[in-house]
């Protein structure tokens, strides 16, 4: 079922040019999201997930820069647009639920006004009152008391703030919502409620969602497709079932193995040994090889090629290079 592609990232490279060297935070990444899809991007912290998200918003903070590649959002290549053009696309085409959402609310502004201003500056409404009216509607949608629009952020609970942020993300009815670790810092029950809300709204409105997280059980529960990112590269992608039941890449296996079973007692089964590499000087060859238990000599010399595992799925690993997919028990 090939529907319209909302987002298409092609061979994207985003580097940080720091005083102490070039950090290759996103290195030759390609990614696709279709309309109405909920795609998860998983990986350890520092793997470049957030940078990728910022790149899609085209707000990579200095000294970072998009070096090459294309980002096509609803048919528009945003890498070539001017700052002002990008500004207009932001939030109207793609909005974001930030990591630590409670901090993305301005503490000295009423929450309703923070939503109203979005509408105002994108020309959706002509005065603040009208904006607040829409904000009230959005509050109802996300399950908040509409009267809360006049509150200041510090007067709300963590879950309430999170809902405000979600409401804000929906304000302009965008094509894509990037949710960057939307539930960190919340207690488990609230997490679940928030995720349910997101999922419900997504199903209702048909908005595409890019969920960035390292919370694998959550991914298994809500997402359609999964991209696994390691040290600036996508190492494997596939349908959620494929990734969880037949992971190919040793890193993916490690990740899933490291997940505390949500059925049994909470304990790490196979811990991933070692640390993610320093992206200023990533190891030569496969970036995962220092931590990989299947590492071969070639892994240290050459970068692994991409091996297709499905229509849109692939894995980048020497284990599968040039071969048909091998089932690994």
């Amino acid at each position: 079922m090939k529907t319209a592609t909302i987002l298409e990232v092609e061979n994207l490279k985003v580097y940080y040019f720091t005083q102490r060297g070039v950090v290759r935070a996103v290195d030759d990444v390609s990614l696709e999201i279709d309309k109405g899809e909920l795609v998860a991007l998983v990986g350890e912290s520092g793997s470049g997930k957030s940078t990728l998200a910022y790149a899609i918003m085209r707000m990579v903070p200095p000294p970072g820069r998009i070096v090459s590649g294309r980002i096509v959002l609803s048919g528009i290549d945003i890498t070539s647009l001017s700052e002002e053009e990008v500004r207009k696309l932001r939030w109207s085409k793609v909005s974001m639920i930030f990591q630590g959402a409670m901090n993305s609310l301005n503490p000295v502004m009423r929450v309703g006004d923070q939503i109203a201003e979005v509408l105002l500056y994108h020309g959706a409404v002509y005065d603040v009152e009208e904006g607040r009216k829409i904000a009230r509607e959005l509050f109802k949608l996300v399950g908040l008391d509409p009267e809360r629009v006049m509150s200041y952020p510090h007067e709300l609970s963590g879950g309430q703030k999170q809902r405000v942020v979600i409401a804000m993300a929906l304000a302009l009815n965008p094509d894509l919502v990037i949710a960057d670790e939307p539930t960190t810092g919340l207690d488990v029950t609230t997490q679940a409620k928030i995720m349910d809300t997101i999922r419900d709204i997504q199903r209702e409105t048909g908005i595409s969602v890019l969920l960035i997280t390292h919370d694998l059980p959550l991914v298994a529960e809500v997402s359609d497709r999964v991209y696994v990112m390691y040290a600036g590269k996508i190492v494997e992608t596939g349908d959620v079932d494929k990734i969880f039941y037949t992971p190919q890449h040793p890193y993916t296996k490690g990740l899933i193995g490291a997940v505390p079973s949500h059925i049994g007692p909470k304990k790490r089964l196979i811990a991933l040994p070692g640390e993610p590499p320093d992206l200023r000087s990533p190891p030569p060859g496969c970036r995962f090889h220092p931590r990989c238990s299947y590492a071969m000599p070639i892994c240290k010399r050459k970068e692994p090629p991409r091996t297709g595992t499905g229509p849109r799925d692939f894995v980048e690993c020497w284990l599968y290079a040039g071969e048909e997919v091998k089932k690994v028990a």
């Binding site: 000294p63 993305s104 994108h122």
Partner: protein, 325 residues
């Protein structure tokens, strides 16, 4: 706690600390070696009998604790005494032209410094890491270390001696007849220009640095990133979201800094012969004019305490998170 109770408590606290502070200063002043009548021997015909007579007149012949009681009684009645050298009530002396001059100087210079410093700070933080930001950073550090009186002397050297653009001293042109009030104002501002510019520049460094640094950390806050992501125009992001939050520390510091501000006036007023309370204070110390010293410290401390108080109120207004306690 409600606003009213808060203000009431703070007022009581303020009054008590002020009175106790004045009691402390009373003794500190009398600890100064020297004598209020000593400088009078410069007048050729002054004899020691005359000095004695003056001491009696000024009540300096009484025991110290008696003087203290009299002083405290007067203070509680709101009287600051009579100046030894000027022979007039200290209140008249302080709240006259001298106070106006000092206020004009301080408000002009600090207002400017705060305004320019804030705008530049916001601007530099927004473009952090760029060449101009780094250049202004270094400049701010340099300005921060320049002694205010030296900068004043330099200004005099360049703008009053070398090029006679500005006057060397005073607050107005002496004995000039003014056709219009505006003419008078113009003359006053012309005299004010150099001293005000001096303080402005010196303060600018500090204000800029504080503003830039808070701004830099505010810019890293998620709500600023969010504001950008929301596609708001840059101006709105910078001023409405970032700058308003970054303003909090500088407002607090400006209030807490009142002590330094009032103090700094002494040096600048000396360099430019600006007839303000800074000069008055210095002269009063030289002449041991106790009532004037007490009066000045009373006023300055009061101003500082009040500034702190109002800063707290302002802070509470700017930041809805703050409660009175």
């Amino acid at each position: 706690m409600g606003l009213r109770a808060y203000v009431a408590r703070r007022t009581i606290e303020l009054a008590i600390s002020l009175i106790l502070f004045m009691a402390l200063m009373f003794y500190v002043f009398r600890l100064m070696p020297g004598d209020p009548t000593a400088m009078l021997i410069e007048e050729t015909a002054f004899t020691s009998e005359m000095r004695e007579q003056l001491r009696r007149m000024w009540g300096l012949d009484r025991p110290l604790h008696e003087q203290f009681v009299i002083f405290m009684k007067n203070l509680l009645r709101g009287e600051l005494g009579i100046s030894f050298i000027y022979q007039k009530p200290v209140a008249d002396l302080i709240f006259g032209r001298k106070m106006l001059n000092t206020l004009a100087l301080l408000i002009a210079s600090h207002g400017m410094a705060l305004l320019i410093g804030m705008v530049l700070g916001v601007w530099a933080a927004w473009r952090r890491g760029k060449v101009l930001d780094i250049a202004s950073l270094v400049w701010a550090l340099v300005l921060h270390t320049i002694p205010v009186f030296w900068l004043g002397l330099m200004f005099l050297l360049i703008f009053a001696v070398h090029n006679k653009w500005f006057p060397l001293s005073g607050t107005i042109t002496p004995a000039r007849d003014y056709a219009h009030v505006l003419e008078y104002m113009g003359d006053y501002l012309w005299h004010l220009a150099l001293p005000a510019a001096t303080i402005t520049l010196i303060r600018l460094g500090g204000d800029f640095l504080i503003m830039r640094n808070t701004m830099v950390s505010v810019i890293r806050e998620d709500y600023v990133t969010a504001a950008i992501a929301k596609g708001l125009p840059e101006k709105i992001v910078v001023w409405k979201h970032a700058a308003r939050n970054a303003m909090l520390p500088i407002v607090t510091l400006a209030g807490l800094d009142m002590a330094t501000v009032v103090s700094g006036a002494v040096l600048t007023e000396t360099v430019f012969s600006w007839d303000g309370i800074g000069r008055l204070l210095y002269e009063a110390a030289i002449y041991r004019d106790y009532p004037v010293l007490q009066g000045l410290f009373f006023v300055i401390t009061l101003v500082v305490l009040l500034a702190n108080f109002f800063t707290d109120l302002l802070y509470a207004y700017l930041d809805p998170r703050v409660r009175y306690d």
